[in-house]
């Protein structure tokens, strides 16, 4: 299963992802111009955190041990066959217990509709809207296995740089 990755060096904090998430997934009209005048105002399922210089979009991590799943009072939250944590709108009563239990703050109350909103990674679409619209390609849909390869390469680079600079690697002696 692919996950949404963020290139921190590319995010400018423009919130285009938020606008189009709300438009595509929350509005009736599906166009930004019409969406802003809808009542209730459409809501995004992700949020751009941070300030100018350091920003990143944050959306549901679909935690393996998800606190929200334990918290749901009505059975609206469940993990689907793809391993994604999703909300069954018909069962959600808007009690906001899951909102309180999400340590990332990425379950959003939508009081006007009495619904808890969260990222479902646009599971039924070809590509998540946020990934599609990001003007700097800061958001990317990647396979976790590929991400591991990226990390490995970066670690290799770091070790190589350290060696080139003459730094002596420090090893932990667990026996001490």
């Amino acid at each position: 299963m692919k996950v949404i990755a963020v290139h921190l060096d590319r995010c400018t904090g423009c919130r285009t992802c938020e606008l189009y998430c709300a438009t595509e997934r929350g509005s009736d009209a599906k166009t930004l111009l019409a969406a802003v005048s809808e009542t209730p105002v459409p809501q995004a399922r992700l949020r751009v955190e941070g300030a100018a210089g350091v920003s990143m979009p944050v959306q549901c991590r679909h935690c393996l041990d998800a606190p929200c799943l334990d918290a749901c009072l009505t059975g609206a939250l469940r993990r689907n066959a793809d391993g994604l944590v999703v909300v069954d709108d018909a069962r959600c009563i808007g009690c906001w217990t899951c909102v309180m239990f999400c340590p990332y703050g990425v379950i959003f109350p939508w009081p006007e509709r009495k619904l808890a909103l969260k990222c479902d990674r646009c599971g039924f679409m070809e590509e998540p809207v946020c990934v599609d619209v990001c003007p700097t390609k800061a958001l990317e849909l990647v396979d976790p296995a590929t991400a591991d390869e990226v990390y490995r390469a970066r670690r290799r680079d770091a070790v190589g740089l350290a060696a080139a600079s003459g730094a002596v690697p420090v090893l932990l002696d667990l026996a001490k």
Binding site: E18, L19, D70, T97, P103
Partner: protein, 422 residues
């Protein structure tokens, strides 16, 4: 011989049973509950009573064909004999166990007004589905409902009853509603909202007498401020107390409380306990009697029963979230906790966000009207992080590109800094 016996089929006990079956499939499990129906969402009972929730949405579990899970309903447990490793049922049958999980939950607190006489028709302590069914049928064709207890459950029940068209009175002993979770100032707009809905709110009062009609059904109750109010159904929502009577002679109680470690183990290594019946020891005693806690504790108890080194539960917070008549509320801990208060509040919008700090750490707090960022605040509280430097920032509304209209009202409101020392 049953390997694991679980006393109590609330969400905690049932979760433990299912977890035991999943992790220890070669061990048989016997689940015992005095109720005839289990596997329902207790928190949805107020909605169920006024028929805004369909019956099929009330259940999260139905008995399934699992030969290793023996579910015995409608029978209580009389006593636990830890030395002989057996429990005795109310009908006298004795069952031996290898591991025991005790999750009997709570029993509703009842007001002294009914203490001496037999209960009249129309008075209900609402905690079980059986009782909720009785209320649902009883209120048909009746009009006047009195809810005793202005806490989260009582207030929510009153709102649902009012929305269903009943004449509702809410009676609370303390000077304001939601007394254990909100400060007087934070509760004021909520209380005003309930009054605006048409609920008669009687605070600083309790019910001290009642009258019945010829059919022995309630007709009026007397509140201590000196009035008789019409009452055809009297719903009691003043909390619960641990159901530990079955453990009176078990040797498991400590000053009358069923105390467990944060791995949910009792003083007997073969016996675990969880849910609304227990006090959890972790830097003091905690009573986190909430649904999410019961679920987590059920999972951990089921996993811990056969572990060499049982694993502690991740958190012992007693937190609550509610949507009362359209106003979202998150309660991170009891009013009165901590030594200083940091708050942001809207003068006109009814938005109230406050944190109670103890040595820089979050000891509690309340978010009313705007609950954005509640999850991270709860996580900071669980971590015990020192937030004194940025507490006020944490209370800022966390906006998004499209902000809910109701929340942007706070932006123009006065900022209250620092706060008072208790």
């Amino acid at each position: 011989m049953p390997s694991i016996i679980i006393v109590g089929g609330g969400v905690g006990g049932l979760t433990a049973a299912l977890e035991c079956r999943r992790l220890h499939p070669d061990q048989s499990v016997t689940l015992i509950d005095r109720e005839r129906e289990i596997g329902y969402y207790r928190t949805l009972l107020p909605m169920f009573m006024v028929r805004t929730l369909a019956e099929e949405k009330l259940f999260f579990w139905k008995p399934v064909g699992d030969a290793g899970l023996d579910v015995r309903l409608g029978v209580g447990v009389r006593s636990v004999d830890a030395a002989a490793r057996r429990v005795v049922l109310q009908d006298g049958e004795a069952l031996a166990y290898e591991r025991l999980i005790i999750a009997p939950g709570g029993r509703p607190v009842v007001p002294p007004v009914f203490g001496k006489r037999s209960w009249p028709k129309g008075a209900f302590p609402v905690r079980s589905l059986e009782m909720a069914r009785k209320v649902r049928d009883w209120i048909v064709g009746r009009k006047h409902i009195v809810v005793l207890g202005g806490g989260l459950v009582g207030s929510k029940t009153a709102v649902f009853m009012r929305q269903a068209g009943y004449d509702v009175s809410l009676v609370e002993r303390q000077p304001h509603i939601l007394p254990t979770v909100l400060s007087a100032q934070a509760a004021a707009p909520m209380q005003a909202h309930l009054v605006a809905m048409g609920i008669a709110v009687h605070v600083g009062a309790t019910v001290d007498d009642y009258r019945t009609d010829a059919d022995d059904a309630l007709s009026e109750v007397h509140i201590s401020t000196g009035r008789w109010i019409p009452c055809q159904a009297f719903l009691i929502g003043i909390g619960s107390q641990p159901e530990t009577s079955l453990l009176a002679d078990s040797g498991l109680l400590e000053n009358g409380e069923l105390v467990v470690s944060d791995t949910l183990r009792t003083s007997d290594p073969n016996i675990f306990a969880l849910g609304d019946a227990v006090a959890v020891r972790r830097d003091g005693l905690h009573h986190p009697w909430t649904w999410p806690q019961a679920v987590v504790q059920g999972r951990y108890a089921g996993a811990n029963v056969y572990r060499q080194a049982p694993v502690p539960i991740p958190r012992v917070t007693r937190v609550n979230a509610q949507n009362i008549a359209g106003t979202p509320i998150v309660v991170l801990g009891g009013a009165g906790a901590g030594t200083s208060v940091v708050s942001r509040r809207g003068e006109s919008s009814g938005v109230w966000r406050e944190l109670f700090l103890e040595g820089g750490r979050i000891a509690g707090g309340a978010l009313v009207g705007d609950i954005s960022g509640a999850g991270p605040l709860h996580a900071l509280m669980v971590q015990g992080r020192d937030v004194s430097a940025e507490a006020l920032d944490h209370l800022k509304t966390r906006t998004r590109a499209f902000a809910p209209a109701a929340w942007s009202r706070l932006a123009g409101d006065r900022l209250v800094k620092g706060g008072r020392t208790r």
